[in-house]
């Protein structure tokens, strides 16, 4: 959950059949174990911001809790301005960008379908734009394959739109660097490279080996994420097969599309903590914040990626204990909330990075928003 209250860093949400949403809150001391709390328990622990209160209330209305649904409500709350104006602007842009990515994915699926079944027809425009010609030819193909799939063509059209929505964050083209998951991986890699270089330049930068351990976990997440992304995209080449799967098991297909999201869940905040730190002191302090937030890889990672993963990567590896909370309570909390709101803005941002953001930030070096790639 992208909460802004400092004491709620690293908190996750989960469904509780009887009592709605439960929150899994890391032990505030940094010690072993977590608290499983309802909102009343959270309010006994700390004084959550308005942003966090609204985010929790929206999560209670979700039919399913997953990274994508949480992101969606987080963007809504941010867009309303409860995390500040920068986050509101970024959230608005992110929602527009998401729509453009869904439209782009839909066009690419239609193109793929036409190229597969009408290879001898006139060339399709190179630009991934929805044209009347593309619509006409795609509709013809769908009418052609509808009997073999046992569904009317209109239902298949609906299916294609649903598949586009599911897979837009992943992106269809293997070279797509602008899809959300691809951008997240780029950000994670930028953070990993930056941290590895920083540690190599002066081993004294590290704090008791914490940085090296976080860097290893980051590398593992990058590799697993890249493998999952590649594998997911490989399954998107055959549109009729996708439609078949959607007809047979739409939830299963949706779960497959969400694998990358689950695999990389939590890594964005860790990356941004690093990317937002600019001085040696703030980078060393960031290590202490990042380490307890390093996500545990899901048990399914080997099945999803076909890559070997050390068993310790699936257990919580880092604990940073503190004698007291002075660094994130009292006067310090105000700066941390502001920083967390800035991270929300950076996370949602989809355009070129503002000039005051560090190299490797979201949008840094990217071509900008909009369907520029194919």
């Amino acid at each position: 959950m992208p909460f802004t209250t400092p004491l709620l860093a690293g908190t996750c949400a989960r469904d509780c059949k009887r009592e709605g949403v439960e929150l899994v809150v890391p032990s505030p001391s940094g010690g072993r174990g977590v608290y499983i709390l309802h909102w009343s328990g959270v309010r006994a622990l700390c004084n959550p911001t308005v942003h966090d209160t609204l985010l929790f209330q929206r999560s209670s209305g979700l039919t399913e809790i997953n990274p994508a649904s949480i992101r969606e409500i987080a963007l809504e709350v941010a867009r309303e301005g409860h995390a500040g104006r920068a986050a509101a602007t970024a959230a608005e842009a992110a929602l527009v960008y998401d729509r453009s990515q869904r439209a782009l994915t839909h066009v690419l699926l239609l193109k793929g379908l036409v190229e597969q079944f009408d290879p001898n027809g006139p060339n399709i425009a190179t630009l991934p734009e929805r044209t009347p010609d593309l619509d006409r030819r795609a509709a013809a193909v769908l009418r052609r394959i509808a009997p073999s799939l046992g569904q009317p063509a209109a239902r298949l059209e609906t299916g294609l739109a649903a598949i586009a929505d599911m897979f837009a964050p992943v992106g269809v083209a293997s070279t797509n660097r602008d899809a959300r998951i691809a951008r997240l991986l780029i950000r994670l890699k930028a953070a990993h490279i930056g941290m590895a270089r920083w540690l190599e330049a002066d081993p004294g930068n590290d704090i008791g080996g914490l940085g090296q351990s976080v860097a290893v976990a980051m590398q593992q997440a990058c590799d697993s994420g890249a493998a999952a992304l590649q594998r997911t995209r490989a399954g998107l080449m055959d549109t009729p097969a996708l439609l078949k799967r959607w007809i047979k098991d739409p939830d299963g297909l949706s779960a497959r599309a969400a694998r990358c999201d689950w695999l990389l869940d939590g890594w964005e905040r860790v990356s941004l903590l690093w990317l937002a730190a600019r001085t040696r002191a703030s980078q060393r302090a960031a290590l202490l914040e990042m380490a307890p937030l390093v996500p545990v890889l899901p048990r399914e990672v080997m099945e999803w990626t076909d890559t070997p993963v050390a068993p310790e990567a699936m257990q919580q590896a880092f604990r940073v204990t503190s004698h007291e909370d002075a660094w994130r309570t009292g006067g310090s909390a105000f700066a941390l909330i502001e920083r967390n709101e800035k991270l929300l803005a950076m996370s949602a941002w989809s355009g070129p990075a503002p000039t005051d953001w560090p190299e490797g930030s979201p949008g840094w070096g990217s071509p900008g928003c909009g369907p520029q790639q194919s």
């Binding site: 004084n47 911001t49 500040g84 040696r280 503190s322």
Partner: protein
């Protein structure tokens, strides 16, 4: 910050070594009486001189005011070199042989000497700091990491520099002063790193590093140890808890004596009229809050069991003054940086909301730290009044509902803000749109300040 306002009683004990030029003395009186804009122009003119010499005396009487009016000070090579030792610099007229301080007139000959010895490296530093000011602390830290140790090495092994005679301090004074400055500058880079880490809130000073600093200074120049401890405690008050453990055996007695001298030096400085005010008047509201927190922590550590009654009385007086200065800074910060922009009829529609939020956060930081040294009733009253202004009809044309909610949240906490989450009547065209958010305010108002 220099010890420019050293108490007269302290000053008069020692014989001044610097005689004032009559012409300059004649100019000082009108300068002291000059309004702030004129002071800024005079300082800018003096700052622009390549050779300062006795003209520096013109600025001495207004140094305390400079901190309050905050004119931009150009970042010169000398200012950068002596930046970490600012706490210890005194006007020459107030300095005596053997005093735990550095006379201002000694700076320029040392600076020229270091600059000449560094050659092209100094030229590179000068090129990088051209047109920059002392507000650029990141640049100061970065360049200082190499400049301070280099300057220390040069001063530790140098003959009397050219121009020393103009200081009128006497040749015999040079070597002990240069040795002390060298010993302190040699640790400045490490101290700056510790300060930067401590400022993050999560990296307290490391005992081994503090012990190493003190050990090196004690070996290099024992007489500089009190000044080193004063510098250490001034930027890292938490280090006070580490000092008793830093040495054992016979060395512990020497360290204890040095700590005592350093404590006197720091208290002497804090006990001056306006000094706490100066510290918290400088910089942003959040920086003022950090300064209050730093002084409060320092006082807490100096006010240890077994302290002499006179010292405890001195600490109590400083704490009282700090409390009053903090409240005054809070009140004018609230008025100037939050309420005045909100109520200025000339800026409706173009109000800088992020700046207001920065001011509101700064006020809360200052208030949180201020409560450590005094009562909180005044803050509560002022914050509640500010929240009422923000919620009032008079600002409806310049704040959206979400802007109001966020400002109230920062000033009075989430509970007060959540109570505002009900739609308000539609606005006229052209004004900011209200939030569509609506939520029931929690019934149980919490008093916890933990965020």
């Amino acid at each position: 910050m220099g010890i420019s306002g050293m108490r007269t009683s302290t000053i008069m004990k020692q014989k001044p070594v610097q005689s004032h030029d009559a012409e300059i003395r004649a100019l000082i009186k009108p300068i002291v009486a000059a309004p702030d804009p004129k002071i800024k122009r005079i300082v800018a003119t003096v700052d622009a001189l390549t050779q300062r010499g006795p003209v520096d005396l013109l600025i001495d009487p207004v140094r305390q005011r400079l901190a309050r009016i905050r004119p931009p000070r150009p970042l010169r090579f000398g200012r950068l070199m002596f930046y970490p030792l600012d706490l210890l610099i005194l006007p020459a007229a107030r300095w005596t042989q053997g005093q735990q301080a550095i006379p201002r007139t000694a700076l320029m000959p040392m600076v020229h000497h270091v600059s000449l010895a560094m050659g092209t490296e100094a030229a590179a530093v000068k090129a990088e700091i051209a047109h920059r000011t002392t507000a650029d602390v990141a640049l100061i830290s970065r360049l200082g990491q190499s400049l301070w140790p280099a300057a220390a090495a040069i001063l530790a092994d140098s003959g009397i520099p050219k121009g020393w005679a103009s200081t009128q301090l006497g040749e015999a004074t040079y070597r002990p002063l240069a040795d002390a400055v060298a010993a302190l500058l040699a640790e400045a880079a490490t101290l700056d790193q510790l300060r930067a880490e401590a400022a993050t809130g999560s990296l307290p000073p490391r005992p081994d590093v503090v012990e190493a600093i003190l050990g090196r200074v004690a070996r290099a120049n024992k007489s500089a140890l009190p000044m080193m401890i004063a510098m250490l405690l001034d930027c890292l008050p938490l280090a006070a808890a580490l000092l008793p453990a830093a040495k054992k055996g016979p060395e512990a007695a020497a360290l204890h004596a040095a700590m005592d001298e350093a404590t006197d030096l720091l208290l002497q400085q804090l006990d001056q009229e306006n000094i706490t005010d100066m510290r918290i008047a400088t910089g942003t509201l959040a920086e003022a809050g950090a300064a209050v927190g730093g002084i409060a922590a320092l006082l807490k550590n100096l006010d240890k069991a077994g302290a002499k009654p006179q010292r405890r009385e001195q600490i109590r007086a400083v704490r009282q003054r700090l409390d009053a200065d903090c409240k005054a800074r809070f009140a004018w910060g609230l008025q100037d940086e939050l309420l005045a922009p909100l109520q200025d009829p000339g800026i409706a529609g173009s109000i800088d909301i992020p700046a207001l939020e920065v001011a509101a956060r700064g006020l809360r930081v200052l208030e949180t730290e201020g409560r450590l040294v005094g009562s909180g009733a005044a803050y509560d009253r002022l914050l509640a009044g500010a929240a009422e202004t923000i919620k009032g009809n008079a600002v409806l044309d310049r704040l959206s509902q979400v802007d109001q909610i966020r400002l109230v949240e920062i000033l009075c906490g989430p509970e007060a803000a959540l109570a505002m989450l009900t739609p308000r009547p539609a606005r006229q065209a052209g004004s900011p749109s209200p939030s569509s958010a609506s939520v029931d305010a929690p019934r149980n108002v919490q008093t916890s300040r933990r965020l």
